[in-house]
């Protein structure tokens, strides 16, 4: 069972899983980090990203390299209406946002049921090649997701660390009033962070819908994974989301392969519970003052 080929396959699967988890969790952690909003409607935006890709790429035949970001852009743009109508009332209100946005999640989800019905459908694959490197099998679609997740992570990091807007975002996250006093337009910064977060969720949803299946309920699983990854890594921490995604992805792959699905779920959630007891701010988060 513990042969080199199986171990190599576990690593490959772990990378694929981690990439998906990171991609889904990035937007979630950004919204919390900047605005203290627990976006329980994150999965719904991922689902909308999936449907947007279904039409832009699957129905209208736009080349994939354009279709994937365009679909995410469409969702993020339309979501700005919800930012004005809903999200703005929940900024810096962590607990209220949980319940309010859970309601929004359901409203979007069941609107989608009425529009598309709850039937599962698929987005045409961009690549269906299966690469074989040595004895290890690498599905090309997972390779693309890994590449996009890596690029998104890097872009995210560079943007928040080195750009003017990124600096403004970090300032607003630390202390909104002082940031405003220094001339930071927090309304604009919040809107920008929201736009980026929803763009990421929709992009991840496109990949998720293409890799698995598309349905109005498909956002539930990504939302749960994003929440676990972010809790693990530390709410609001981007490196934490990366670390949490990698840990969960590899743990899933290793434990499920060698000890089965039930052990994997039991241990993964067990570790999260222990972490919440002994280090509630997560692996790379900062404790609330």
């Amino acid at each position: 069972m513990f042969s080199t080929t199986v171990l190599a396959q576990v690593v490959v699967n772990g990378i694929g899983l981690s990439a998906t988890y990171i991609l889904v969790a990035l937007g979630f952690t950004l919204l919390f980090g900047i605005m203290r909003v627990v976006n329980f409607a994150h999965g719904a935006f991922a689902m909308l990203g999936g449907y947007a890709l279904y039409y832009v790429y699957g129905s209208f035949g736009v080349p994939y390299i354009i279709a994937a970001p365009l679909a995410a852009l469409l969702v993020a743009t339309v979501a700005l209406v919800l930012e004005r109508l809903v999200y703005r009332f929940f900024y810096q209100k962590m607990f209220q946002s949980m319940i309010g946005l859970l309601g929004l999640d359901m409203a979007i989800m069941f609107t989608a049921v009425m529009v598309w019905d709850s039937h599962e459908r698929s987005i045409p694959p961009t690549v269906s090649d299966i690469l074989q490197i040595g004895g290890v099998i690498v599905p090309a679609d997972k390779l693309i997701i890994s590449g996009v997740a890596g690029a998104a992570l890097l872009a995210f990091y560079l943007f928040t660390k080195f750009s003017r807007y990124g600096l403004a975002m970090r300032a607003a996250a630390q202390d909104m009033e002082i940031a405003e006093a220094q001339g930071v337009n927090t309304v604009m910064i919040y809107r920008l962070a929201f736009f980026i977060a929803i763009f990421m969720a929709a992009l991840a949803g496109g990949f998720y819908g293409q890799t698995y299946a598309l349905s109005p309920m498909m956002g539930e699983r990504p939302l749960m994974m994003a929440f676990i990854v972010v809790i693990l890594g530390g709410m609001g921490s981007i490196p934490g989301a990366a670390l949490g995604g990698i840990l969960l992805g590899f743990a899933d792959s290793f434990l499920a392969t060698f000890y089965g699905g039930s052990v994997s779920v039991f241990l993964s959630f067990g570790v999260v519970i222990l972490l919440l007891i002994f280090r509630p701010w997560g692996l790379m988060g900062t404790p609330e003052s």
Partner: protein, 391 residues
Amino acid sequence: MKQALVSIAAAASLGISLLTAAAPARAQEELKIGVIAALSGGGTGWGLGLQRGVQLAIDDANAKGGLKVGGKTYKLRQVAYDDQYNAAQAKTAAERLVNEEKVKFIFGPVGSPGALGSLPVTQPAKVLQFVDGYAPAILKNEWNGGYVFRIGNSNQEFAEPIVKWIKQTMPNTRKVGMIAPNDAVGQAAVPILVNAYKRQGYDVWIEYYERGSKEFTPLLVRMMAQNVDLFELNSNAPGEAGLLVKQARQVGFKGPMIQSGGAGVDEIIEIAGPLAEGFLKYDVIDAGLPRVKLFLDAYSKKYTGILNGLSPVYYNAAHVVLEAIRRADSLDTTKVRNELEKMGGWDAPVFGKVIWTGKEIYGNDHQLFHAFLIKEVKGGKGVIKTVVQSQ
């Protein structure tokens, strides 16, 4: 002003009299037909299939002027609740249908978890329930299956013949791998299939997962490390079965794959795409038969999208039940049940002659039996590989 008030009063009284005059046209009474179906989550394909199959039978009856019972004519109306393929939700749905909607006939839920969850509500209330789940306890229970019928083959009926067919057509297979949901299906129905394989000398490896999972590659790698020759998809819902087929090929499983359970292959092709090629699947209808074609035409006239295999199963069952109500000439569920039990030989619209069976296994003849098919995915379509008769 006074004149205006008089005009309004006159108009109002005219309106009331018009409404009253229109009332006799709506004298037909309404009979609610309950449906519990998975309308969200991994079992959605099945749930929609159930709901649509029942609706088409209701449409047939309403198109003929309604259902005549005890001197009254009833217009049928479907009342559906979502159980999310979950026992607890199914129980809640059954409670609402029985206690609030006051229905006497319920179709569904899909699968064993919901059926087992809802029986404690429907059976004491003597509400007739028609289900498809494979768990033996659905018919063999503390109520002796009193007011429940299984309206399609369970794997008790088809597992053995399928395994024998596999043994004949794939003599080199020795070890079977299964990845099954960790719920009532996985724990109660899958062992019947496992035993059927073991009785034919197969070595069976089985692993469970939590319902709702999407990523199966680690479990598939685990399965492949056991040197499995044949991947059996057992009772997985269409959404999960499609992903299992797709991901099995993506991690390099090259052996044959079969699903002995669940009807309908199109949803699996939709999800797995070209990777579904060669996949074998239990199914219930031969689209080439004229009686089946009639149903398919009615389906495509009303609905778009993929036809789930449970649609014809529930369409067939709903017609059998409506005929039993007509024969009983009553909505009393005990009388209808007694008529149902006597309906052997009646020519049902999809499966033909009704055959009730199950006494030896379940202690009652509330199991409908019908012949079935094994289809193979060829060129992106499910084509009939063989027609299998039960023992």
